[in-house]
């Protein structure tokens, strides 16, 4: 139990996927312009990461490891993630059209989002069990959602600020991310 809590907290704030590991930057800068979009994106990423972690860690622990074909993990994981996202998209479309309209466009984007692939690779590199993988993915998802929501709140205000012309948009977003990352460095050594 203690171990699971450590994994979770480390993933949410200390090894934050976006600010400390630079994963999922495309969506972090692309979708953080509006608070509501950022929230939907965070939820969608967390959902996909959870499902992907469960299925890939089952495949890794019960198929790849016993047959000693761990080196195939990259090929298998990406295929599993790509098909999973398709399935999730179809299921959400059929069952809950409101949810689909809210996060529909983000789901296909997530397939090539490095954050999902990264969490799956971390699970296999650390030899996490299925339960540990789920906690790891949940922590990463919560961390991502937290950071993208903070970022979108700042960027909504930042749009009104009178920044120099060459800094407007992406450059100033990068500087904001630098300050945010600096704040998160303060959590180092907590666990």
């Amino acid at each position: 139990m203690n171990n699971l809590l450590t994994i979770f907290i480390a993933m949410v704030i200390i090894n934050n996927m976006v600010l400390a590991k630079f994963l999922g930057l495309c969506s972090f800068f692309g979708v953080s312009k509006k608070l509501s979009d950022a929230f939907s994106m965070g939820i969608a990423v967390t959902l996909v990461m959870l499902i992907a972690s469960v299925s890939t860690s089952v495949i890794y622990n019960y198929i790849l490891v016993p047959y000693k074909v761990e080196f195939m993990n990259i090929v298998i994981f990406i295929l599993v993630i790509a098909s999973l996202v398709q399935i999730v998209e179809i299921v959400i479309k059929r069952t809950n059209i409101i949810l689909y309209n809210a996060m529909g466009i983000y789901l296909p984007l997530i397939t090539t989002n490095c954050i999902v692939m990264a969490i799956v690779l971390i699970n296999s590199a650390e030899n996490y069990s299925v339960l540990e993988s789920i906690v790891n993915a949940l922590g990463a998802g919560v961390g991502y959602t937290l950071v993208i929501i903070i970022m979108s709140g700042i960027r909504e205000k930042l749009d009104l600020a009178d920044s120099p012309k060459s800094m407007r948009g992406l450059p100033v977003a990068f500087l904001t991310a630098a300050l945010l990352a600096l704040a998160f460095v303060g959590f180092n050594g907590m666990v």
């Binding site: 600010l19 400390a20 590991k21 630079f22 994963l23 999922g24 930057l25 495309c26 800068f29 080196f71 195939m72 993990n73 990259i74 090929v75 990406i78 295929l79 790509a82 090539t112 989002n113 490095c114 692939m117 990264a118 690779l121 971390i122 590199a125 120099p164 012309k165 060459s166 800094m167 407007r168 948009g169 992406l170 450059p171 100033v172 977003a173 990068f174 500087l175 991310a177 630098a178 300050l179 990352a181 600096l182 460095v185």
Partner: protein, 233 residues
């Protein structure tokens, strides 16, 4: 130009597929080969102009050794995937092209990561998770979809080399800034090149830490816009 043409001719035997079409307009495609090669380095530099594949750009550039290793890896994967995808482009049904691209790319990345693990273990360790993550780098799938699936093997090779070199140059520039300011010295593959007297005793470690990466890239983007290299939004 003559010299360019000869060199591109010498590379021709490698590309077996579109040779017939190639002999017809040899002169034209010879110059196009160079155009595609140079294009990736400046005009459509994947990092500074297209802003693609940012994750490794920020994560790997804390030392120039990592940057060079990553650049070499990306060039290898781009070459493999572009050559393979453009040679099977006529046999690939349009609907399943993305899964086919993904499998080709994932296979090349697996080869790359096995080679790195076997022959350069220190670099493999310091690149860590970012080496297998080349598989989801948008530059590679982007080039497969936008270029290799529509052009001949020779042109796709040129495109892969150009884009790969452009990516490596961007990585090297950023890592030079970060390593020199962050450590006060420069080290390539374990050999120290120089040491700045004041900075090496009191280095600004901030620059090799994660927040430093965001800062350096943000400032570089703003500077490139001021100089007119990068477009305004």
């Amino acid at each position: 130009m003559n010299d360019h043409k000869d060199r591109s001719n010498s590379k021709q035997p490698q590309s077996c597929h579109p040779q017939k079409q190639h002999v017809k307009d040899n002169k034209k495609s010879g110059s196009r080969f160079w155009k595609e090669l140079v294009k990736g380095i400046i005009v459509s530099n994947p990092v500074f102009i297209l802003i693609l594949g940012l994750c490794p750009v920020l994560a790997i550039t804390n030392s120039i050794t990592n940057a060079l290793g990553m650049g070499a890896g990306v060039i290898f994967v781009l070459l493999c995937s572009n050559i393979l995808i453009s040679s099977i482009r006529k046999a690939t049904p349009l609907i399943v092209r993305i899964p086919v691209f993904i499998v080709v790319i994932a296979t090349s990345v697996t080869i790359l990561s096995l080679v790195f693990e076997a022959y350069i273990p220190p670099l493999y360790k310091s690149l860590g998770i970012y080496l297998p993550l080349v598989v989801v780098n948008c530059i590679i799938l982007g080039r497969a979809e936008a270029f290799a699936s529509k052009n001949s093997v020779l042109l796709s090779t040129a495109d892969a080399v150009g884009i790969g070199i452009g990516f490596t140059i961007a990585l090297v520039i950023i890592s030079l800034i970060r390593e020199i300011i962050g450590t006060g010295s420069l080290e390539i593959f374990g050999r120290q090149l120089f040491k700045l007297p004041g900075l090496s005793t009191h280095p600004l470690i901030f620059f090799i830490s994660p927040p430093g990466a965001f800062l350096v890239i943000g400032i570089m983007m703003a500077l490139l816009r001021l100089l007119g290299v990068m477009k305004y939004e």
